[in-house]
C-alpha cells in the first residue's frame, strides 16, 4: 500500500454510534494512508434515521474559532478538503470562507464538495443553504450530488437526456466544476434506453440497478470550450436502506483521485479510475453489510413497515442498527484486499450527441 504524505481536512457530522458522515469517511481515508484533520459539525448520538437522536451542533462561531486558531498555529495546510453535512447557513458560510481562503493559498488543492441538501424530492437542510452551495461550487474540484441535489443546484428537472446534459453543462460551465459524479441515478426508461450497449449489458436481468455517472473536464482551465468526458456503470441495487453510503463513496473517491495519474488506457480518465475504485469498494462494503444483516436474529431484521414502526419505535432502531456499514469488518476491502468484483466505469462516447 502506498503511504502518501497527504493530509485531508474533513468537515462533516459526527455520530457516537454507527457509520455516517465523518465516521463513514475518516477511517477509510486513514486506512488509505491519509492524515485526516477531523472537524465535527455536529456531535450526535446516532444518525437521524433512528428516530431519536441528539447532542450538540457546532455553532458558526465555534467553527470559526477552530479554523482561526489552526491558521495561527500554521496547522491549516491540507492538500485535500472534504466537506459533507453542515447544518445551517451560518456554519456553511464559515466553511465557504475557509474553502475560499484555502483555494487561494493553494490553487492545486483537491476539494471534494458533497452538497448535502436532501434526497428523493425532500430537502433536509434549510433552503437558505442552497445559494451558499451554489457560490461554493466554483471552489470545488469534484462534487458528488445525488439526483435531487443536481436538480436543486441547477434548477433543472432531470426528465430526459436533454435535461441531464443541460444540468451537467450548468455545473461545468456556469459553476466551473471540473468533475461531477452522480453515484446513484435511478435507471428510468429514458436513461436506460439512451445507455450504450456496453454499459447496459453489464446488468443482469433479474435485479434492479442504479447508474453511476461521472463527467470530467479534460482541461479544467478551459471550462468553456472543453467537452466533458462521460463514464457510467450500472451497479445492482442492494435491497434495504443503508445510511452513510454516500459519505463512504465520497471519501473513497477523494482518496483514489490522482489528477496527475496517466491512465493505462485512453478510455479512462483520472476521475473515472477513482470512481471505479470508489464504486467497487463501496459496493463490496454494502454486500458485506447486507450479508451480515441477514445473520441477525429475526427481530433485528424486520422489513420497513411504517405502521408497525409507529407502534414500536425500537423496531425501527433495531433495523437501523443491523444496517450500519460493516466498515471495520470490511477494512481489508477498503485496502483493496479480497475485493469480490471490480466495477469499471465505461466510457460513454456518444453522450453529448446521442
Amino acid at each position: 500500500m502506498a503511504i502518501t504524505p497527504e493530509r485531508v481536512l474533513s468537515i462533516q457530522s459526527h455520530v457516537v454510534f454507527g457509520y455516517v458522515g465523518g465516521k463513514a469517511a475518516v477511517f477509510p481515508l486513514q486506512c488509505l494512508g491519509y492524515d485526516v484533520d477531523v472537524v465535527n459539525t455536529v456531535n450526535f448520538s446516532n444518525h437521524s434515521g433512528y428516530g431519536r437522536f441528539g447532542g450538540h451542533k457546532a455553532t458558526a462561531s465555534e467553527l470559526d474559532t477552530i479554523f482561526e486558531i489552526m491558521e495561527n498555529n500554521e496547522l491549516l495546510r491540507p492538500t485535500r478538503l472534504l466537506t459533507g453535512y453542515i447544518p445551517g447557513a451560518e456554519a456553511l458560510s464559515v466553511v465557504e470562507k475557509l474553502a475560499t481562503k484555502l483555494r487561494q493559498s493553494k490553487p492545486d488543492l483537491i476539494y471534494l464538495l458533497d452538497p448535502v441538501l436532501g434526497d428523493s424530492g425532500r430537502l433536509y437542510v434549510a433552503p437558505d443553504v442552497i445559494p451558499i452551495y451554489q457560490r461554493m461550487l466554483p471552489l470545488s474540484t469534484i462534487i458528488t450530488p445525488n439526483w435531487f441535489e443536481v436538480e436543486t443546484l441547477t434548477k433543472t428537472e432531470l426528465k430526459d437526456m436533454a435535461s441531464l446534459r443541460r444540468a451537467l453543462e450548468i455545473l461545468h460551465k456556469e459553476y466551473r466544476v471540473p468533475h461531477v459524479v452522480i453515484s446513484s441515478l435511478p435507471l428510468k426508461p429514458w436513461l436506460a434506453s439512451a445507455l450504450p450497449p456496453s454499459i447496459l449489458s453489464s446488468q443482469s436481468e433479474d435485479t434492479s440497478h442504479l447508474l453511476c455517472i461521472s463527467s470530467s473536464l479534460p482541461d479544467a482551465s478551459n471550462s468553456c470550450t472543453s467537452i466533458p468526458i462521460i463514464h457510467a456503470q450500472c451497479v445492482p441495487l442492494i435491497p434495504g436502506y443503508f445510511s452513510g453510503v454516500g459519505d463512504l463513496f465520497s471519501a473513497l473517491l477523494l482518496a483514489h483521485f490522482h489528477p496527475d495519474s496517466k491512465p493505462e488506457t485512453i478510455h479512462a480518465t483520472p476521475l473515472s479510475l477513482a470512481v471505479s475504485q470508489a464504486l467497487t469498494k463501496t459496493h463490496a462494503i454494502l454486500l458485506l453489510t447486507h450479508s451480515q444483516s441477514q445473520t441477525l436474529p429475526e427481530h433485528e431484521k424486520l422489513p420497513t413497515d411504517d405502521e408497525l414502526d409507529e407502534a414500536d419505535p425500537l423496531r425501527k432502531t433495531r433495523r437501523m442498527k443491523g444496517r450500519e456499514l460493516a466498515l471495520i469488518k470490511g477494512q481489508n476491502l477498503i485496502r483493496g484486499v479480497g475485493l469480490p468484483q471490480v466495477w469499471e466505469m465505461i466510457r460513454w462516447d456518444c453522450f453529448w450527441d446521442c
Copy 2:
C-alpha cells in the same frame, strides 16, 4: 488478523489536528478490529501543548443526553469501555453514572480507566475530580495511571520499594482494581537497584530508560487474599516530548487484553501479554515518529527553549507539529506487521518480598 465482533465505547477528548485523546486511540482500535463508539468530551483545534487552542467542551448535560438517547435506542451495548481525559467534575460524574450502569448490566465489561489528572507533580484538572476518580476505581478492570497519578490517587509518595508496594496494595485492595499498569516510571536509583538482573540486563548502558510495570490480581474475585503478579520491562527513552503516547498505549492495551487467554508460558498473564504488545507497538510508533521528525527542515525541529519560544510562539507550534505521532504512516506496526523489536514483560517474582 482476527476480526472480533467486539465494541468499544471510547470517551475522551477530540482534536482536529494531530493525535491525542480519541485521535490517538480510536484508529488503532479500529485497525485491530473493534467497532468504536466515539464520545468526544471536547472538540478542540489541537492539543494544549501548542499554546493556542480552542473549540467546544461538551457540557455534562450534552453528554447525559447522548447516553440517554443511546440507551433508549438500545445502542449502549459496548463489550469494552475506555475513558480518558474528561474535563471537570460535572462531566466526569455523568461518566461515573454511565460506567456504574454498564458495570451492573454487564459484569464482564472490560473497562480501561485512564485517570487523567496530571503529570510530573502538576495537576491539569480541577482538584474536585480526584474523589470522583477514586469512587470510579472499583468499576474498572484495568487502570493506567502515571507515576504522579498513582501518588495522587493513593495519597502515597513513591520514594522507595515499600511505598511502591503500598500504593499498589491500596489500588488492588482498597479500590479493588484488578489490573494496574504504570507505563513510564523514571528509573530512580532505589527502583533500579531493586530490579532483578533479568529486567535490568535488557538495558543498554548509554541511554536513559523508563520502567513499565504491571500488577495483575490472579483472582480478581478475591482481591483481599490474592497476591498480585508483577511484571516489568525497561524501555529506552526517546528524546523529546511526544503528546498522546499514553492515550495510544491505553488503547493498544485494551485492544490486546483478552482475560480468558491462556498464556503459553507460566511466567505470563493475560495482562502481561497485553502490556508487551502495547509497549512494543507504542515504542515502534515513537521510533517512527522520532525518525520522521529528524527529516524535517531545521526550523521545524528546534529544541525546547522557553526563552526563544516566548519570543516566537510559532517556534513551539512547529516543534509540536513535527512530533505528532506517526499513527497513519505506522499503521502496519499497529497491525503487528514489521515490528522492529518485541518488548516482553518479564516476571518480577520477588517484588513483594525483595
